[in-house]
Amino acid sequence: MTAAPSPAPVDGWDVGQTLAGFARACRAAGLPVTADRERTFLSACAATGLGERRAVYWAGRATLTASPADVEPYDRVFAGWFGGRPMHGVARQDTPRTSTVQASLEELPEGEGDAGPGELLRAAASAEEVLRHRDVAGLSPADRAALRRQFATLTPRPPTRPARRHTPSRTGAVDGRATVRAHLRNLGEPERIRYRRRAVRPRRVVLLVDVSGSMSAYADALLRLAHVMVQAAPRTTEVFTVGTRLTHVTRALRERDPDRALLAAGEVVPDWSGGTRLGQAVGVFLRRWGRRGMARGAVVVVLSDGWERQDPEQLGEQVRRLRSLAHRVVWVNPHRGKAGYLPVQAGIVACLPHVDDFVAGHSLAAFEEMLAVVDQHAAGSPPRG
């Protein structure tokens, strides 16, 4: 590959050092700068010429950033490192960025270790059973910790869709091509007949997790659920948090360890326990991701209580658009599982006509049921709630 010629020192300051330092500053600011990217950056600078501030700027942008969200921090670091104002005034307003985040997870105190009185002498099996059906919102810290461990027992099976390709199989249609090929290999001697059937591939699942104030008691559990689902199908599951803005947290949740993954997600989400602008957030999702293909043919799961601060009409309209793209829209509402719950809030009422499944999501048992609803890939959905 292209060698990275190390730039020669100019007028007493070492260009290479300065540039490498800049690359490291970018890494410190959270950009995906790996050692090989840094090398490419240096060769790019050497190629464009070193004296030019603009050339270095563009060389860095081409080699050190990897998504539109990276541009704004890059500009900031560039301005800081080389002085002066950023080259490009394109702070993309709609890209949430995360330098300082208040996202606290104080919802989940570290209840492990010292056994509180509530945890004393409980027959483990039955306690677990009880816990499975308890509302997540009303748990003591110790129960929460116990429940957290139980998340490991959830086993999502990603939904599937028929693939374009066929796969060899014992049953199915006769595979003429493979059969003749096998015959040919034997120089025309008849061989056994090969069969094939349609292969299946995982279907994309998109989770929109409401982390606004009204959902704060559930946000932790729902994100853990999202984590379990991402782990089960890391490449075909996408997770967004929804509050006053929309945040893509899939990358954080790919971290294997659940606690670390949740912390990482917490760092990315800027609007923890804030207000809800559900309709707008769904709209942003559709515009920036969904319509480009992420929602197309996917199972989209909205995990929210449907409390909409703004126009419920708009929310209904966005969910209708979502429905027209997605394979299925599943709405998970923590309150659905409670006795006497009626879907009467304006937000929910506006959405229900466009939702395929309306399920509960308040306890581990409910999560299991919800996973089953997401998994099912047979046509025909259960009656709407």
Partner: protein, 302 residues
Amino acid sequence: MQPPAALADPQALADPQALADALADTSYLADEGLATVAWLAHALQRPLLLEGEPGTGKTALAEAVASLLDVPLIRLQCYEGIEASQALYDWDFPRQILHLRAVEALGREQGGAAELEAELFDERFLQARPVLRALREAPCVLLVDEVDRADDEFEAFLLEVLSTWSVSIPELGTVRAAVAPYVVLTSNRTRELHDALKRRCLYHWIEHPGLKRELAIVRARLPEVDQALAAEIVGLVQRLRSDEDLVKPPGVAETLDWARALHALGTSRLDPEVAAATLGAAVKDRDDTERVRVALDRMLTR
């Protein structure tokens, strides 16, 4: 392994500015960032990964580079479920059978099964697909369009080809590019691409052009369109993009279509009736159409 040689270095590739000028001659107006990145892709022999809204000219760049270098443009359209055999090569099965039959009919005496089989996997039964063609026909521009639609496995395969510039065909041996092809990958960000692939590439996010640049693009591509009309259309599209919350904001391609449509109608001024009648050239969504109609009345009849 020997790295392949660079493309022949014509005048147009002397530096980013020269590339921008040469692109402008092919009616592609690149801004400084894009020109620099496009030039670096050549200088460092790295694939260029372009992301951006639909209609910002990602594919057009590959076409422009191919035309200015006067090399073939080889295009690989990605889709869900695309396989390596769709990108590399396939054996022409019917012709192989035909050959077998011909051999049979002739009743050839000499040569055993092995020889016959070797004949079957001869060059003439090989169907080269875009990537293999690009390796063989380099210098050329290889456009890997909408790579985000393909699967992860396919991405991994691409990554391998893009870092070695070679491909091995078990029956024939290794095919290596004599010259690194100029590779442009485009993505609409429907899916997060593998980090490994991104690391291999130079990255650029293309924004919608600003008013001045878009007007210049319209003027360059459609010199026959009346200047005042072009300015009106571009101004209107720019406002539609920024002010109205459209499901699918019109890209540059739509602006050009609209200008072409209005020009075909012999219009020289944009009034609400004509604009509404030709709206379908720029706005392709029913909900948007409603919105834009209302906005048009507001914007054009002050």
